[in-house]
């Protein structure tokens, strides 16, 4: 019986001591700022498109860091970004949130210049200053700077901005992943059957 009491007492005592050490360390070595936000921000595609519901990539990074938003709200980043975020934060990768939009091919804004009335609304909307123009003057998009974020389309009162997919060139083209299955892979038809059964 004594032994039991001694064991409990000594373990409690040790727990208190280590707890105190840990508590002190947490205060003493507290990391100022929140570098995780920077790390998350590095992984985001920086289109500043706001499709996640935040005004830009960094606010979304902050929201992820504060765990107020899931990691799957970034359509331009797509699955690659989700995977990278999941790796960084050690959480499960989620499928892209359909409400936030769909992961699609890269697009770039083009202004149909003869229809532009020079209202400057798109200039104000562009997060990366990629639209050139002045009041009552025709505007145009600096193609190399456009991130394809889509934010200029909505404000245009005359609807003269098109989002056009970036053309594939010999340089940007690459081979597709071989699509045929390995003979021992689960065959699509069978898997559909399996899901029905389940």
């Amino acid at each position: 019986m004594d032994i039991l009491i001694y064991a409990i007492l000594s373990l409690t005592f040790m727990a208190l001591i280590f707890g105190a050490i840990l508590g002190y360390a947490a205060k003493r070595f507290k990391v100022e700022g929140n570098p995780i936000v920077d790390q998350i921000n590095e992984l985001l595609p920086q289109t500043q498109c706001g499709q996640c519901g935040h005004p830009g990539c960094r606010p979304y990074a902050e929201a992820i860091a504060n765990q107020t938003d899931p990691i799957n709200l970034c359509p331009p980043g797509g699955d690659t970004t989700i995977k990278a975020l999941a790796d960084l934060l050690d959480v499960d990768a989620l499928p892209l949130d359909a409400e936030a939009g769909v992961d699609s091919i890269r697009k770039i804004a083009y202004i149909r210049e003869d229809e532009c009335i020079g209202c400057t609304k798109c200039i104000q909307a562009c997060p990366v200053d990629a639209i050139l123009g002045a009041a009552k003057q025709m505007h145009t998009v600096i193609v190399n700077e456009c991130t394809g974020c889509d934010l200029c389309v909505e404000p245009c009162p005359v609807d003269c901005i098109d989002m056009l997919p970036v053309a594939v060139t010999k340089q940007s083209w690459h081979w597709q992943k071989p699509d045929h299955l390995i003979a021992t892979d689960r065959q699509p038809k069978l898997s559909a059957l399996g899901e029905d059964a389940a």
């Binding site: 699509d179 021992t184 059957l193 399996g194």
Partner: protein
């Protein structure tokens, strides 16, 4: 975009099935020698292991919703069954073979994702589980010459009925392990039957060596792992036998008794579960050689190939990590 096929448009005509068939062919001398010395038991083991292995594979593939037509031809189950049958004692009853096969095919292979994904050598995993679970049954070896005829063996295989005492005996490695105060030479002198056993094992090992060299010449694998294993085993035997040669088995004993050659050329060369690079294979083989010696000499089991292989299987990913070869132009 059209779906064009990437180069190369030529293929060497090498197929996995061909490799499997060659491995099976290379094991034939060993199988025949083993049958010659130790009777029909191995043959029954082999038949039963193949039949059961194929059935189990088919069952698991159905459960995993994989195509069935494919597995019958890939030959990997047959190789696993063959290795199991060769490794199991000739007097193994049906349930022992069944347990080993079940564990090899279902647990060691398919639960890890099937062909190409198993971290452990399936045959050795099946063997090891039996060695742990049924140590008594796993050590019944017949004396050379004194084996049962086919009918009696058949009866024994299914019912375990028959006169065993006359035909079973301790293996040489077992005898060396339990010297009971004698020196190795005294043991040999006192037990002519064990000497005869040793001779038989020698020829079996030679047969596997021949099959192994044939596979080496056919470039089914590189020399690295087998040579490293045999060399390290021999080196351990010389090193530790030097002080007290009377109490330790010699290098020759280690190389030509037990499952050494079977292990060196048929087990550790299994590409799926071994290290990848040439340097890695050297380390992998050497580790197995050392572990075989350690377990044989100081462990509980008289032979140790299965455990040594499984332990090094565990280490293979780590070895791969640290033995990545330098790519072209990447100077140190």
């Amino acid at each position: 975009m059209m779906n064009s096929i990437s180069s190369p448009h030529l293929h060497g005509g090498n197929r996995s099935q061909k490799i499997m068939l060659l491995v099976i062919a290379a094991a034939m001398p060993g199988l025949l020698t083993q049958l010659y010395w130790f009777g029909y038991g191995t043959l029954l083991n082999l038949m039963w292991a193949i039949v059961l292995g194929l059935l189990l594979e088919a069952g698991v593939l159905l459960l995993r919703q994989r195509p069935l037509g494919f597995f019958l031809t890939d030959g990997s189950v047959i190789v696993t069954a063959l290795l199991l049958a060769l490794a199991l004692p000739p007097m193994a009853p049906w349930w022992l073979v069944s347990t080993a096969t079940l564990f090899a095919v279902v647990f060691a292979k398919h639960l890890y994702g099937g062909l190409g994904n198993n971290p452990f050598n399936p045959a050795m995993a099946g063997y090891a589980i039996c060695l742990i679970a049924f140590p008594a049954s796993m050590t019944i070896w017949t004396s050379p010459y004194a084996y049962l005829d086919l009918a009696d063996q058949w009866l024994w295989f299914w019912t375990e009925q028959g006169q065993l005492d006359a035909i079973t005996q301790a293996t040489p490695l077992d005898a060396i392990k339990h010297l009971q105060g004698n020196t190795v030479d005294e043991m040999w002198a006192a037990n002519p039957d064990i000497v005869a056993y040793g001779d038989a094992m020698f020829w079996v090992n030679i047969a596997y060596l021949i099959g192994g060299i044939a596979m080496l010449l056919l470039k089914l694998f590189t020399w690295h792992a087998p040579v490293a294993m045999l060399a390290s085993l021999a080196a351990m035997a010389v090193l530790f036998g030097a002080g007290e040669p009377d109490l330790y088995a010699s290098a020759g004993n280690h190389l030509f008794l037990g499952a050494t050659m079977l292990g060196a050329f048929f087990i550790i060369t299994d590409p799926v579960s071994s290290a990848t690079s040439r340097q890695g294979k050297l380390i992998f083989g050497a580790g197995i050689g050392i572990l075989i010696y350690v377990i044989r000499t100081w462990g509980n089991y008289p032979d140790a190939v299965a455990f040594a292989v499984l332990l090094m299987n565990l280490a293979a990913p780590l070895i791969d990590q640290y033995t990545r070869p330098k790519a072209y132009g990447q100077q140190p």
